[in-house]
Symmetry: C2
């Protein structure tokens, strides 16, 4: 059987983003044991790097050995017990997923429905908090990957705190691309993914819990429904004082890659990386607007790393994206849920976020647009 | 920050096992999108390879994007609803973990406690089935990694089937090292890991469900407690007829590695791989017995790939293993649970399972044993 040879791709969709050769090379280092003293040093280093990236001093900060969807589930099932009430803001696919997870965990969900493509509305959240008795937490998506909208995490976490509630923040697409300030926000559970602005391959999910969240997990009346996601058990491995105990076998090689990608991000500097995303986004917006595209999200609430634009009239979504892939080797994303077929999602995440990629994509889109549009 | 450089290790513990250079190289191929047509072809190929490895024609056969502990959880939470009864055999750590997961899912657990180091006792299971009304499934560990005991999966699955129950089989350490015959056993949910006899890095978990198991999942009265593990949603990605829908972002590079490791195993041939494990085990047993070691498990029930031996009198567990690691670069495993400090677990899994590794380990152990033992 011939070895699989991936086609050459420029990854400009909603993730995965391009992975640097140094990170790919790190993946291929020899596997060692997940309890090897050498590996435990690496674990400590990765925890340290993640604290820097999340801008937090949270002791409990580590990479979950699974995709970010499971980190979402971990945050919610750790903090919610059967019968608890959660206020969950939805302004896209991922807020809806949060609500679904909370319901399956037996929580009552008070859904705050916001318009897709807009940030979560703090006034609507405030009203929901006022009208809901004994809600335990507020959950929302900071960087909504399905629409490209950025919500005001500081304000929303503040509303939760004032009401004595915990906060859960999804910043899967945020971390590394825009400011994330876990401690300044006083957020209680925040998670991300590796395949967006961190530019490591998909498969791991950085997550961090405040001491209040850890205390809530430790004082539950009922066990966490998932053995795998039980924070108190998992910390025996990721945070064992005086020795690590076996919980599951950590994905050693994937963690080599994450370590390398975090080293690159921190060497560049978070502020520099944020500025790089902003600048590339502005240039992409100029080029796309010149081609007649309109953005889904208002300028001030846009995620620079996730550019959602309306598919122009006269352009067929799937065939156009297929041409970009087949003729130019460029992957961009389509819409999800009610936006399927109506928008394109163009990622400028991490390694992908370079001026030459912006130019290459804009040139390619210009080529495939019907000439009427090009003239417009 | 300097790149992490793993120390040179011969991995002879309970996993991970050594990973072939070809598999490491596969990990480092450029990341592509998880919905890329090229990647979808790879998904189909991996499903095909896993069916061959599991000896099954089950349509629903795929690699879960998480460690094997989560595959255990997936098998159980898919088939159990709150209030269902499960008969779970325990003859080591992992049977106990199954029971814990089933309880957290709200099931009543009838535990069949068997002696550690022995296979699951079919008579005890038969009695439990007779005495338990309306049990929905029988779960057991085929290859108990904590003791090195192999249970009789064909007989146990047969007992479940005769009683109209579903069967859940843990063969994390089994697949690729000893015969696994999912269809012949008529097992309903069977899962494994990548870091044992498949010799891919840890992080993925091959899993397969019979049509009866899929039907049970589809006819549940309540939703599966976990959104991430909901088989019916996950199949939209892994098995979507007429197009794949987004569920989570698959760990693309880890799947490159699994594909390569499965290609190697299937090129060697399963029977040849099983024989290789048997032969290496026999040689290891000879060498260790000559050094005065006694095996935990009777000859006929031993897993060739996981050799549990009693730590000889006069030998301190942790310092001796540390010497093997530091002076010889060899990792072996200690005991878990009640066997901690009392046994060593020596893995001969996948790539590690080579005669020269057996010799190297036996020589090293001979060197570090106190001279009294060496003479004995």
């Amino acid at each position: 059987m011939n070895a699989f040879s991936p086609p050459p791709r420029l990854l400009m969709g909603p993730g995965p983003s391009n992975v640097a050769p140094e990170v790919l090379a790190a993946l291929a280092r020899p596997t060692i044991g997940h309890l090897d003293p050498g590996f435990i040093k690496l674990m400590e280093l990765i925890k340290h790097q993640l604290r820097l990236a999340f801008r937090t001093e949270n002791r409990v900060t580590f990479p979950l050995s699974a995709p970010a969807s499971l980190a979402m589930e971990m945050a919610l099932v750790t903090l919610l017990e059967r019968g608890d009430t959660a206020i969950i803001a939805q302004n896209g696919v991922f807020g809806g997923r949060m609500a679904e997870i909370a319901k399956r965990a037996g929580a009552e969900v008070r859904l705050v429905s916001c318009e897709w493509g807009k940030p979560v509305d703090p006034e609507a959240v405030r009203a929901a908090i006022r009208d809901t008795r004994n809600a335990k937490l507020l959950a929302f998506v900071h960087a909504e990957t399905s629409t490209g909208a950025r919500s005001d995490a500081a304000t929303l976490c503040g509303l939760a705190r004032e009401a004595g509630m915990l906060s859960v923040v999804d910043t899967v697409t945020g971390l590394g691309g825009i400011p994330v300030f876990v401690d300044e926000w006083q957020a209680d559970a925040v998670y991300s993914g590796t395949q967006k602005c961190l530019s490591a391959p998909p498969g791991l999910a950085p997550i961090t819990f405040s001491e209040a969240a850890v205390a809530a997990a430790e004082s539950r009346k009922t066990p966490i429904q998932s053995w795998f996601l039980d924070l108190t058990l998992m910390l025996g491995y990721w945070d064992g004082e005086g020795g690590r105990s076996y919980h599951h076998t950590a994905p050693v090689n994937a963690l080599y890659g994450l370590n390398e990608s975090l080293s690159r991000l921190l060497a560049e500097g978070l502020e520099t990386a944020w500025a790089r995303h902003r600048t590339a986004h502005e240039h992409l917006a100029e080029r796309l607007e010149a081609l007649g595209f309109a953005f889904v999200v208002d300028r001030e609430h846009r995620l620079p790393q996730l550019n959602a634009v309306w598919v122009p009239e006269g352009v067929e979504d799937a065939p156009a994206r297929r041409r970009l892939l087949e003729e130019f080797g460029i992957e961009i994303g389509g819409g999800l849920g009610p936006l399927a077929g109506r928008i394109w999602r163009i990622g400028l995440m991490g390694e992908t976020c370079r001026m030459e990629n912006v130019e290459h994509l804009a040139d390619a889109i210009g080529t495939i647009l019907p000439s009427a549009k090009r003239a417009g």
